[in-house]
Amino acid sequence: MTTQKIVSFDHVSKEFEGNNKSSKIQVLKDVNLSINEGSIFGIIGYSGAGKSTLIRCINGIESPTKGDIYFKKTVINRISNVELRKRRKEIGMIFQQFNLMPSRTVFENIELPIKYSGKSKAEIKQKVNKLLELVGLPEKINTYPANLSGGQKQRVAIARALVNDPQILLCDEATSALDPQTTADILELLKKLNENLGITIIVVTHEMHVIEDLCEYVAVLDKGRIVEQGEVYSIFSNPHNELTKNFIATTSKLNLPDEVLHSDLLALSGNKLLIKITYVDSEAVEPLISYVSRKFEVDANIIVGDIKILQQKPLGGLVIILDGTKAHIKETIDYIKGQNIRLEVLEHAK
């Protein structure tokens, strides 16, 4: 895998004029990013964080107030309009609302970006057919968008975005209007495109599971500022920022609701201790449980387990109630902490 940079942000800030001329809204604050060619890069943040503004800087729909955006060697925010339009053909984009042309059939929609390119009719037809095959919708070629489901519309939009053979595909909340199953199908398709075509994919989303299911790298955007970025696995297994932790919590089953934690449901009595242990760098947790319960003579009662495979590595952990003598429990905890496994005590017996 090459590690050539394809897009980078160099101290990018963006402000919009507010409602009255004097007030400025600071939407991006000193953003630095670099995105590897061929990777799938995710940007996550709450609504209003500036995600759309950030991704639209990449194809020059927005231009920064400060800093530069590089697309390979080109500084996107410093080129002429003509040059910019050429670059845009190398950068496809899809949207939450699909943005298909209602008056055009599927074929005419996909054809639109190359309609004025001087390519022959036959060549265009062949290209569109190939793309429809790729996104799995060959039979819809003469259908109007109004007669397509959301997932089908997004597939057509993807085909349209690919018709110029771009090097990058930008996805602005591309699955946010879709149901979970359709979302999974679209993410699957994006992955396939990344693997088969080697296209770099940049997604912005407010849904952590999209990052989890799709991306290799993630940046967390909080009110215009990137507060954390890195490989998805290391961010998920060891988040530092509070916001990142909140996002991760939305995809993990290990976070027991407070009502459960503080209720009598768990029946914490005597020396019992409710703990959470999490994988860090793919240490196996299950053998450890049986090991400590034998070695330190403690009962380890698993309440919840959540293990998933992220970037080919297991990620997740267990919530356990430990029971035994005070001394044994302390030994167990010290041992686990010594194993480079993250341990959190959630609740003591009352």
């Binding site: 194809n59 729909i61 339009r85 050429k86 670059r87 845009r88 053909k89 950068i91 496809g92 984009m93 949207f95 609302q97 943005n99 298909l100 042309m101 209602p102 008056s103 055009r104 639109l112 970006p113 309609k115 004025y116 109007y144 968008p145 109004a146 007669n147 349209r160 975005a161 110029n164 930008l170």
Partner: protein, 223 residues
């Protein structure tokens, strides 16, 4: 039968027929010319507006202010004010020939606003889609703004032509000819009720035909 119901119209049948033809002539010529002008003005207003694809505050302001100025002048006063210019352009200020210019000046500001509104109705996401695929502003105007707004444009054109029918009746008053002229001369000044009613019926028929055509077009293009 018609001679019982519309005795005076039958009496002046050839004049009445001429009046209808004159009205249609004014209508068709003015509609075609002002449609072309208004499409251009409407597009200019939409693309040069704030955050438009060719944002240009100066041009936008010039068009916006001029259109507002002309829309604030009552048509009957506009006709009078335009007489010297009309003579210069058409060679005469009376007859059908003399009405075309003031009709265009009278309807274009309204028409342009209607076209502007129709184009602004378009989902901004579609325009953005055109930008991200690397289309030029001209291609976006042609293949997105206009193509996707045909239905809305047909609707506002219908509304405008119906307003224009009203204006053609007014120009009649200043010797322009047409149905308005006929209604004033025979219906009003000679108090021939049947002439007035016949004029109303003819206008009603023209309006209905325009309405039906407009609806058919906008239905046809919308999927």
């Amino acid at each position: 039968m018609p001679s019982k119901l519309f005795p005076n119209v039958v009496l002046n049948y050839s004049i009445f027929k001429l009046a209808i033809l004159q009205t249609l002539e004014m209508l068709v010529i003015t509609a075609v010319i002002s449609f072309c002008i208004s499409i251009i003005f409407g597009i200019i207003l939409v693309v040069t507006k704030k955050n438009g694809i060719l944002m240009n505050t100066v041009i936008w302001n010039v068009f916006d202010k001029i259109i507002n100025l002309f829309r604030s002048i009552p048509f009957i006063i506009l006709i009078a004010a335009l007489i010297p210019l009309t003579r210069l352009i058409s060679g005469t200020a009376i007859g059908v020939k003399g009405t075309i210019f003031p009709l265009i000046v009278g309807i274009v500001p309204f028409f342009s606003r209607q076209i502007e509104a129709a184009l602004n109705e378009l989902d901004g996401g579609l325009v953005e889609a055109g930008q991200v695929m690397g289309l030029s502003p001209f291609q976006i105007i042609y293949s997105i703004y206009l193509k996707e707004s045909i239905g809305s444009i047909a609707r506002v054109t219908t509304i405008t032509i119906i307003s224009l029918i009203g204006l053609t009746a007014i120009v009649g008053v200043v010797g322009g000819g047409g149905i308005g002229d006929f209604a004033i001369q025979y219906g009003y000044q000679q108090n021939q009720q049947d002439a007035t009613i016949a004029c109303i019926l003819v206008l009603l028929i023209i309006v209905s035909i325009v309405q039906v055509i407009g609806t058919l077009i906008s239905r046809r293009v919308e999927h």
